[in-house]
């Protein structure tokens, strides 16, 4: 079993009468790219702020690197790099000066060369002396990433890091996260609304809803255990539907255009159904099994 980097148990936090987080638990292991999923208002940001000691939980425990964030705050934060919600810097200062300021209190102050190298690494080379106020959203995000990585943290917490980025920017950030994992064995906690992003780069995830963690595990395991959505394009369609009803009288499908339908099915049932359709002389033009995190996510949060 790899080393446990984050262990959150029964985290709860109330703001006035609003219960932001009521029982969140999850674990992140060394080398994980851990997806933190949940609809708006689910309690993601509050939980992440508790991890960073920005918010003190009412109850529950947060242990990072095997130590409580409450009692070992400074030593833990020295090993974390994070962007919470959006990177905010001093508007009247340059990119270089901003990084210098945050580096100075990071526990591992960086040299001028290291700061320049990091700015180059995130694609801001040549913009070191430009004021933050003049940066585009994408450049601000890149500067945020630079600030996160500058002190070479062991754990990286990224809250919606690709929000507002152009497609190339999104790909760059994704590749960067994968490089951090693969080349430097960093542990990354990634909160995102972009389900495809989680599906593409995370190996483990937790879904939280209404302040509670609902499901946690390997992304592939969680999705393999679920029904697929099979999209069938066949002719004649009425005959195909009769075959389906004869096979499973309770089956419900959605019509997708005139010649396609889609319905839930288990992976093991697909060969048998294909055989049935062929035996009934149904012409199959396409058979597409879909299993997306989006489907899974919607199903989980609507329960």
């Amino acid at each position: 079993m790899p080393e446990k980097i984050i262990e959150v148990r029964h985290l709860s936090k109330k703001f006035g009468s609003f219960q932001a987080v009521s029982d969140v638990s999850f674990s992140v292991y060394k080398g994980d790219v851990f997806g933190f999923l949940g609809p708006n208002g689910a309690g993601k940001s509050t939980s992440i702020r508790c991890l960073n000691s920005l918010i003190k939980p009412d109850s529950g425990t947060v242990e990072i690197f095997g130590q409580s964030i409450t009692t070992h705050r400074e030593s833990i934060l020295g090993r974390i790099g994070s962007i919470i919600e959006k990177p905010d810097f001093y508007k009247y200062l340059s990119a270089y000066r901003n990084l210098e300021i945050f580096s100075r209190i990071s526990g591992k102050p960086s040299s001028k060369q290291e700061i320049y190298k990091m700015l180059d690494f995130v694609g801001l080379g040549g913009r070191e002396r430009d004021k933050f106020a003049g940066f585009s959203h994408g450049m601000k995000q890149r500067l945020g990433i630079a600030q996160t990585l500058l002190h070479n943290p062991d754990l990286i917490i990224l809250d919606e890091p690709t929000t507002g980025l152009d497609p190339q920017g999104i790909i760059d950030i994704r590749n960067l996260i994968l490089r951090l994992k693969n080349e430097q064995n960093k542990t990354v906690l990634l909160s995102s609304h972009n389900l495809a992003e989680i599906e593409l780069i995370c190996n483990r995830m937790v879904i939280i809803n209404k302040g509670r963690s609902i499901v946690e595990g390997n992304v592939s395991d969680l999705m393999n255990g679920e029904n697929l959505i099979l999209r069938l394009e066949a002719s004649p369609m009425p005959a195909a539907k009769n075959v389906l009803l004869a096979w499973k009288p309770t089956l419900l499908w959605d019509n997708v255009g005139d010649s396609s339908i889609q319905f839930p099915i288990e992976k093991s049932e697909i060969p048998y159904l294909t055989k049935l359709l062929v035996e009934q002389n149904i012409e199959i033009y396409s058979l597409e099994a879909k299993r997306t995190l989006e489907d899974y996510f919607i199903k989980i949060v609507s329960q």
Binding site: R49, R73, E74, P87, D88, Y92, S106, G107
Partner: protein, 281 residues
């Protein structure tokens, strides 16, 4: 070490923020205007003041010298300087909250106590620079423009003549007490700044508190008498005590004690509040 780094950060931030220079620019302009006015028509003002003594006293030499000019300037301006200080220090915490940078700072391995202490210290350094600039502009430039000489001070007890050689240390002491008074304003504004994420609120609130306490201090209403000695605004003009002869040492020490007590309370409340605060900005 991280505390020193954080103090350095705060000083850099203040130094590179255009707003920080407003106070220094305002002092420069105000002092220059007053000095110009005194240079142009100062003797008639002095004659008006000394007229009531001329039956019993004869004034000779350079009466309107740099020492007196500096005193007049300080008397006129030290009441306005709190606004200039609060303009910068009131923004130190809440401005960061409004910008979102407080969130970034608070995720760094520096304790919140150290983070806030560095802001108090940087605020103190800025206040010191304001006072020093005030001193340079009023005393040094005043002496250069108006020359030097014995100093004539008119206070509530009458006319005090201080010998030229006896003036400089009094200015040093006066500026030290004035610094303590302004540092109290700085502490108040930083303290108020810990309670809000609004950048302007603490500045306005600080000025409102000063205004309220000043009004209470000047109102001749018996019900306020017990609290007047404990209001920091009562002691903001204590720098003038250094220009009395003999020096009212007990009054000066009392003022210092009240101002230090205010600072201790304000800094303690700020540290407690900031340490427990949920950062949601």
């Amino acid at each position: 070490m991280i505390l020193f780094n954080s103090i350095y950060n705060e000083i850099i931030k203040i130094a590179l923020k255009p707003r920080s220079y407003l106070g220094l620019a305002a002092i420069t302009v105000l002092v220059a205007v007053i000095q110009f006015a005194l240079k142009a028509d100062g003797m008639s003002i002095i004659s008006f003041v000394t007229a009531s003594f001329e039956q019993t006293l004869t004034f000779e030499g350079n009466v309107l010298n740099g020492n007196l000019v500096a005193f007049i300037i300080l008397q006129m301006l030290l009441v306005q300087i709190p606004l200039l200080v609060a303009l910068v220090t009131g923004d130190l915490v809440s401005g960061e909250a409004a910008m979102g940078t407080i969130r970034m700072l608070a995720t760094k391995p520096i304790s919140r106590v150290q983070l806030l202490l560095s802001k108090f210290i940087a605020g103190g350094i800025y206040t010191l620079i304001v006072i020093l600039w005030m001193g340079v502009m009023s005393v040094v430039v005043g002496k250069l423009l108006f020359g030097t000489g014995d100093m004539m001070v008119l206070n509530s007890d009458g006319l005090v003549i201080l010998q030229e050689a006896d003036v400089n240390w009094r200015y040093l002491g006066g500026f030290a007490v004035a610094f303590l008074a302004l540092f109290t304003v700085s502490s108040l504004s930083i303290c108020l700044s810990c309670f809000t994420d609004n950048s302007i609120g603490p500045i306005v609130a600080t000025m409102s508190v000063i205004l309220l306490f000043t009004i209470i201090g000047t109102l001749d209403v018996r019900v306020f008498d017990p609290i007047k000695p404990y209001l920091f605004t009562t002691h903001m003009a204590s720098w003038r005590s250094f220009f009395e002869d003999p020096l009212p040492l007990s009054a000066i020490w009392r003022s210092i004690a009240v101002l230090v007590a205010h600072n201790v309370v304000l800094i303690s409340v700020s540290l407690y509040t900031f340490h427990r605060k949920d950062i949601q900005s």
